[in-house]
C-alpha cells in the first residue's frame, strides 16, 4: 500500500539558515540600493525622482566624465587580468601538473599564499617596494645596471593603473592556477595514454588534449575575474586612497562609488548618487555575466569521462 507523500519539512529546515542569512545580508541590501537610486534628498527629506539620478550620472558632464573614466579604467584593469593573470595561471598549472617536477607542492603553496593576504597588506607592501625613497625596487634595478628603467610608477598617470593591475595579478594568480590544476588532474590517464599511442606527446598533448578539456574551467575563471574586477575597490583604496590618484588615473567604479556614497574630505557623502553608481555597476556586471552564460557557456562542449 502506497503511503501518502509527506511534505518534506527537512528541506525547508536545511535551506532556511542559508536563505535567511543570504536574504538579510545580500538580497535585501541589493534591492534597497536599487530603490535608493531612485530617490534624492531635498531639505533633509527623501524625495522620489524616478530615473533623474541616472540622467545626472550620464548626462551631466561633471558626473559622466568621472563615470566613463572609471569604467574605462575598469576595463583596462580587467584586460590586464585576462591577458596576464589567466595565461600565467594556466601555464603554472600545466607546469605544476608535470609528473617529473620536483617540489611541486612547495611552488604551489608559495604561489598561492599571496591570495590569502589582506589587500591592505598587499597594497602597503607593494607601495613600499616601489617607493622611490625607501623602496627596494630602485636599488635592485640599480644593482643590475637598469636604474634608468625605474620610474615612480605609482605616481605617474601613465603607469599607475597598469602597475596596480599587475600587483593584483601577482596577488591572485594562485586562483586560476589552482582551478586549472584541479581540472588538469581530473583528466583521466587513459585519454592521455591513448593519445600517446596515436603519437601525440609533450606540448602538442597540452594544446590538443588538455586545453580543450579545461576550457570550461577557463570560462568559469574568466567570469569570476570579470565579476571580481568590476567589484574591485580594496587594492586601489589601500594603495592610492579614495581619490584614486594621480589625477584619477586609477579611479575604478568601486572607488568612484565609495567617494560619492560616503564622501571624502570636504565632499559630503551622497547616498543616492552613490546608489545610482552602485546600480550602474550591478547592471554592467549583470550584462557581462549574461553575455557569458548565454553567448559562451551554452555553446561550450563538455566531455564526459
Amino acid at each position: 500500500m502506497a503511503e501518502k507523500p509527506r511534505f518534506r519539512w527537512h528541506i525547508v529546515v536545511f535551506l532556511a539558515p542559508a536563505v535567511l542569512v543570504y536574504t538579510a545580508v545580500m538580497i535585501y541590501p541589493l534591492f534597497n540600493t536599487l530603490r535608493l537610486s531612485l530617490f534624492t534628498e531635498v531639505d533633509q527629506s527623501r524625495v522620489f525622482v524616478g530615473l533623474q539620478n541616472f540622467k545626472t550620472l550620464f548626462g551631466d558632464t561633471v558626473w559622466s566624465t568621472q563615470f566613463w573614466n572609471a569604467l574605462g579604467n575598469n576595463f583596462w584593469f580587467f584586460m590586464i587580468h585576462m591577458l596576464v593573470q589567466n595565461p600565467i595561471g594556466v601555464a603554472l598549472a600545466a607546469i605544476l601538473s608535470h609528473p617529473k617536477l620536483r617540489f611541486a607542492s612547495l611552488y604551489r603553496s608559495a604561489i598561492f599564499i599571496p591570495t590569502i593576504l589582506s589587500f591592505v597588506i598587499v597594497g602597503f607592501a607593494w607601495k613600499l617596494i616601489l617607493s622611490p625613497i625607501w623602496g627596494i625596487a630602485p636599488g635592485m634595478l640599480d644593482a643590475v645596471g637598469l636604474k634608468a628603467l625605474y620610474a615612480p610608477w605609482l605616481g605617474k598617470e601613465a603607469y599607475a593603473l597598469t602597475t596596480l593591475s599587475l600587483v593584483s595579478v601577482w596577488q591572485f594568480v594562485g586562483i586560476p592556477m589552482m582551478l586549472i590544476y584541479a581540472a588538469l588532474l581530473s583528466i583521466p590517464d587513459e585519454i592521455l595514454e591513448a593519445a600517446e599511442v596515436e603519437g601525440i606527446t609533450g606540448l602538442s598533448s597540452f594544446w590538443k588534449i588538455k586545453l580543450p578539456l579545461i576550457l570550461p574551467s577557463i570560462g568559469i575563471i574568466s567570469i569570476l575575474t570579470f565579476v571580481a574586477n568590476f567589484n574591485a575597490f580594496d587594492l586601489i583604496y589601500a594603495a592610492q586612497g579614495a581619490l584614486a590618484g594621480p589625477d584619477f588615473s586609477t579611479d575604478i567604479l568601486g572607488t568612484f562609488m565609495y567617494r560619492t556614497f560616503f564622501g571624502f574630505q570636504l565632499q559630503l557623502g551622497d547616498p543616492h548618487m552613490g546608489s545610482t553608481i552602485a546600480s550602474a555597476m550591478f547592471v554592467i556586471i549583470l550584462i557581462g555575466v549574461c553575455l557569458y552564460l548565454f553567448g559562451i557557456q551554452s555553446r561550450m562542449r563538455r566531455y564526459q569521462f
Binding site: 561633471v62 615612480p152 564622501g263
Partner: protein
C-alpha cells in the same frame, strides 16, 4: 529548564553590571586626530576626570581623510559618540542643519572666544554657534637650521630669495631642497597653494571677494600662486610623484631635506623625531617690504551630538574647554595647535612661538576653499588638490588650472556666474 535558569542568571548579572556602570557616565569623543591619542589619554582626559569625578571620557579617533565619511555614517546609524570634533564650515554646518549637532549658542564657555574664532562653526547669519572652538593652525615653512648654517644661507623673505635658497641646496646636492610629494594630493593644495596664496590674493580681502563673486579664479591674484608652484617641481627630489605625506615627513625629520612646506600641526610630531634644530619662516612675499598675509586656519572645534544621552555631562566637558586650564594644557601639549581663546595662552615651544609671532606682523586669513565654495559639485577643495598637483608636475599650465577651477565653480555657484 536548566538552560533557561542559566540564561536568567546571565541576564540578571548583566543588568547588575549595567547598573554598576551607570554610576559613572562615559563620554565618547569622535575625532580625526589619531596622532593626538596619547596626549588626550595621558594629559587632557586625566586632568578633566580629576576635577569631575563620575564622568569618564574616551577619545576614539579615526583616520583623518575618512573622518567625515565615517562620522556621517555613525551619526546616521545612531552609534556616534557624545562629543563630535568639528571640521570647520560646511561639514559641521551640514550636520547642524540636519539636526545632528546641538545648538551651543548659550553655553557659558562661548564667551571665552572671539567672533572670528567662532565664525567657522556658526550658521551663515552668525546667530547660532554649534561647536566650541579649539585651535587654529598656521601655514609656513619649517627648515633645518643646521643645514642652513652649513651652507651659510639666511631665511628668505621674498620670492627671489626663496628660490635662491632652493638653488643653493640643489647645487650643493647633499640635501633635497624641499620635502613634498604629490601622491596624496592634499599637501600640494594645503601646504602649497593655500600656504603661499594669501600673499597674492591679499588674505581675507581676496577670499571674501571670491565668495561675493567680485574676483574670479582666473584673476592674476589666484593664478600667481599656481605660477609659483609650477617652479617647485625641480626642487622636490627624485620620484616626488609617488612620495606620500608620511614619506615627506620622514625625509625631513631624518635630516635629508632642507625645507618642509608645513602646517603648524607638525610641530609636536617633529619635535620628538628630529635631532637637528628646526626653525620656521613665513611664506615669501613678492617684493621686500610688501604686506604679508598668512593662512591662520580655524581648524578644529568640539560639538555635542544632538542624540547624546549624556548631554548634561557633555556640556560640563564643553564648558571646561573654555577655561584657561584646558586652553593652556592643550596649546602646550600640542604645540602648533594655537588656542582660539580670547585670553592669551603662554606657550613654551620655540617653534610654536615663531609661528604664532607672525600673527602680529602679518594679516591672518583662512583657507580660501573652505567657506561656502566647497558646497557644490564639483567640489572646489578637491579640485584644488588636483589642480595643484597637475601644476607642480607640469601637466597643466597655471592659467589652465585657474580656468578649470573657475569653470567648475561657476557651474554651480551663482555669484560666480556673471
Amino acid at each position: 529548564m536548566k538552560k533557561s535558569t542559566l540564561i536568567g542568571t546571565m541576564m540578571a548579572t548583566s543588568v547588575l553590571a549595567g547598573a554598576a556602570a551607570a554610576q559613572d557616565v562615559t563620554l565618547t569623543i569622535e575625532s580625526w586626530r589619531n596622532d593626538d591619542l596619547a596626549i588626550w589619554q595621558d594629559k587632557i582626559i586625566p586632568a578633566f576626570e580629576a576635577s569631575n569625578p563620575g564622568i569618564k571620557v574616551k577619545f576614539t579617533p579615526s583616520a583623518p581623510a575618512e573622518y567625515p565619511a565615517v562620522l556621517n555614517a555613525k551619526l546616521e546609524a545612531g552609534s556616534a559618540g557624545d562629543l563630535i570634533t568639528c571640521k570647520p564650515f560646511d561639514h559641521s554646518l551640514g550636520l547642524y542643519n540636519a539636526g545632528r549637532l546641538a545648538d551651543l549658542t548659550d553655553l557659558a564657555a562661548m564667551s571665552s572666544f572671539s567672533d572670528v574664532a567662532k565664525s567657522a562653526w556658526q550658521t551663515d547669519d552668525g546667530a547660532q554657534t554649534f561647536c566650541v572652538p579649539m585651535a587654529s593652525v598656521i601655514h609656513g615653512f619649517i627648515y633645518n637650521k643646521d643645514a642652513f648654517a652649513e651652507l651659510g644661507v639666511e631665511i628668505p623673505e621674498t620670492e627671489a630669495e626663496f628660490f635662491a635658497v632652493l638653488d643653493t641646496f640643489k647645487e650643493d646636492g647633499n640635501y633635497i631642497p624641499m620635502a613634498m610629494g604629490t601622491n596624496d594630493q592634499w599637501e600640494a593644495a594645503t601646504m602649497g597653494y593655500n600656504n603661499i596664496g594669501p600673499n597674492y590674493w591679499k588674505g581675507e580681502e581676496g577670499r571674501l571677494a571670491l565668495i561675493k563673486g567680485e574676483q574670479k579664479l582666473t584673476d592674476e591674484a589666484w593664478v600667481a600662486p599656481f605660477r609659483q608652484l609650477a617652479k617647485w617641481k625641480s626642487y622636490l627630489g627624485d620620484g616626488f610623484e609617488a612620495q606620500t605625506y608620511p614619506d615627506s615627513q620622514n625625509i625631513f625629520t631624518l635630516g635629508r631635506a632642507a625645507i618642509y612646506p608645513a602646517g603648524s600641526w607638525e610641530i609636536s610630531g617633529f619635535n620628538t623625531l628630529v635631532d637637528f634644530e628646526m626653525g620656521a619662516f613665513k611664506p615669501p612675499v613678492a617684493n621686500a617690504g610688501d604686506d604679508c598675509y598668512i593662512s591662520d586656519h580655524t581648524d578644529i572645534a568640539l560639538g555635542l551630538n544632538a542624540a547624546s544621552e549624556h548631554s548634561k555631562e557633555a556640556k560640563i566637558f564643553l564648558d571646561w574647554m573654555g577655561t584657561s586650564e584646558f586652553t593652556s594644557l592643550y596649546a602646550n601639549s600640542l604645540p602648533g595647535f594655537f588656542s582660539l581663546a580670547s585670553a592669551p595662552v603662554a606657550m613654551e615651544d620655540p617653534l610654536a612661538q615663531e609661528f604664532v609671532s607672525w600673527r602680529s606682523d602679518c594679516k591672518s586669513s583662512i583657507r580660501s576653499t573652505y567657506q561656502i565654495l566647497s558646497r557644490g559639485t564639483p567640489n572646489l577643495e578637491n579640485e584644488t588638490w588636483n589642480a595643484s598637483v597637475a601644476v607642480i608636475k607640469g601637466e597643466e599650465s597655471p592659467e589652465d588650472a585657474g580656468a578649470r577651477l573657475q569653470t567648475g565653480l561657476a557651474s554651480w555657484y551663482e555669484p560666480q556666474q556673471n
